[in-house]
């Protein structure tokens, strides 16, 4: 499966159960409790991380408060 993360093409193993939340864990994204996730141009509500599937072709952006992320 191919997705774009922060502007970079990334290939991941197929996993139909993958959600935004599990992706954050899978990629070991820093400061997961604070990171904002933009999915294909839309900011995703934090409550929705766990039930939003990650699909082929998705573009994700992770956003931090500048300078140390918090």
């Amino acid at each position: 499966m191919n997705i774009t993360i922060n502007g970079k093409e990334t290939t991941l193993a197929e996993n139909p159960a993958r959600t935004v939340e599990s992706l954050l864990e899978e990629l070991d994204v820093a400061q997961r409790q604070y990171v904002t996730v933009e999915l294909s141009g839309e900011i995703l509500e934090r409550d929705a991380f766990g039930n939003t599937p990650v699909q082929d072709g998705d573009a994700l952006e992770f956003l931090y408060f500048m300078g140390g992320g918090r």
Partner: protein, 414 residues
């Protein structure tokens, strides 16, 4: 997620990450800026796509370790450490208000905060209204369309009034205002921000959090619970859109804290991560010593009056007991009838230091009317609860009998 340690353990382990070579204290990263291998990697950090440090004015690994611990101690959220307590207050207020806005604040504030609100910010078109925080109806009545925040101290310094914070939180929240609480005097040991209903908690870390009077610092903890997405805060819109409940921190970090530049020094952050480990032990002793001294002073024939929230007949006793679990902090005030006798007592003290600070391990005294409040009119002093004979004591952690002996021999001088 962090393991759910108890408060006393969080003081020691909270936010600690494995250090180089197995170091167990927080490393002092004394570097102004942080290098990246590639231009792309630095761009990602600047654009907020990746977590990382850029420049110590914006963030620093030592300071970040302190910030993680302080946020955990307030019941969660995110923290910004600053150069001083005043920097924390200034940064917080400037993040929230714009010219034409109003601040609603307690009238019994620390002098520096009072002057920031009344004088300094007035030059930028911001109006402060001061109300008695114990008079809930007057607080409610002072809120108008321009009000942007309610600011109170957990225990007024030096008035030692004890506002009912959960009820003030209710009033603020009904009006769509954040409750900003300066909890310097009580520290998270007496109660955390979650329990008090605070949206943003501020400390002058120069005091009890440092514990030894070795450095100046402050912190802003955004509990991430206030809804900034309302008509009162149109300027938060772009930050709320991206950062939701952490819109305040995003606006502070991306604008005010970055631009004002009142950042914490890494070495001071290190001293604070060391000092805070013993906060619970020290606060327990500050509280018990203060109660012992307050009781001693109450019985002394030369003492006209004593105010300590831990005394059963003190005005703040009821609320303090409910909010702070039977602990009343390390500050007390007393009077001996005149400025002249107050000076004689201070001059005769042998162990207690006469200086402008609180929260040190050492017992400290000051005569506020002639020092930290000297520039204020009698009316303003009355608002702040500062009368001419008032001596403020920040009771230290020495042997209680030595503190009593010191005040006993000093009172003999009058």
């Amino acid at each position: 997620m962090e393991t759910p340690l108890r408060f006393d353990s969080l003081l020691v382990h909270g936010g600690l990450e494995p250090g180089p070579a197995g170091a167990t204290s927080v490393p002092i990263v004394q570097s102004s800026a942080f290098a990246y291998e590639t231009a792309d990697a630095l761009e990602d950090v600047f654009r907020g796509r990746a977590a990382g440090q850029v420049y110590t004015r914006l963030g620093n690994p030592t300071t970040e370790a302190l910030e993680r611990r302080l946020a955990l101690l307030e019941g969660g959220g995110t923290a910004i450490a600053t150069a001083s307590g005043m920097a924390a207050i200034t940064t917080t207020v400037m993040t929230i208000v714009r010219a034409g806005d109003e601040i609603l604040a307690s009238s019994s504030l620390f002098g520096g905060t009072f002057s920031l609100f009344r004088d300094t910010l007035a030059n930028f078109g911001i109006t402060a209204r001061f109300v008695d925080p114990l008079d809930l109806e007057s607080v409610r009545a002072a809120i108008n369309d321009r009000t942007r925040l309610l600011f109170v101290e957990t225990v007024g310094n030096p008035k030692l009034d004890v506002p009912d914070l959960p009820r003030l939180a209710e009033i603020a929240h009904q009006a769509g205002l954040p409750l900003i609480v300066d909890a310097t005097v009580t520290t998270p040991y007496l109660a955390d921000g979650a329990k008090l209903g605070a949206d943003i908690v501020i400390h002058s870390t120069s005091k009890y959090i440092n514990g030894s009077g070795t450095s100046i610092g402050g912190v802003i903890i955004d509990r991430g619970v206030f809804n900034w997405n309302t008509a009162r805060f149109p300027h938060f819109e772009p930050f709320h859109k991206k950062y939701r409940q952490f819109a305040f921190t995003a606006r502070a970090r991306k604008l005010v804290h970055k631009d004002v530049g009142a950042c914490a020094a890494p070495f001071n952050s290190f001293l604070l991560t060391e000092g805070i480990q013993t906060l619970a032990l020290r606060m327990e002793r500050h509280c018990s010593n203060a109660l012992v001294l307050a009781r001693f002073l109450t019985k002394h024939p030369k003492v006209a009056w004593v105010n300590y929230p831990g005394l059963e007949d003190a005005p703040g006793h009821g609320v303090a007991t409910r909010l702070y679990g039977g602990r009343y902090g390390g500050l007390l005030t007393f009077g001996t009838g005149s400025k002249e006798t107050a000076f004689r007592v201070i001059n005769a003290l042998r162990m207690a230091k006469n200086l402008a600070n609180i929260g040190d391990a050492k017992t400290l005294v000051i005569h506020p009317a002639s020092t930290i409040c000297a520039d204020y009119s009698l009316e303003d002093k009355a608002l702040m609860g500062v009368c001419e004979d008032l001596v403020r004591v920040s009771v230290g952690i020495e042997a209680p009998q030595d503190i009593i002996d010191d005040f006993n021999q000093a009172l003999d001088a009058i």
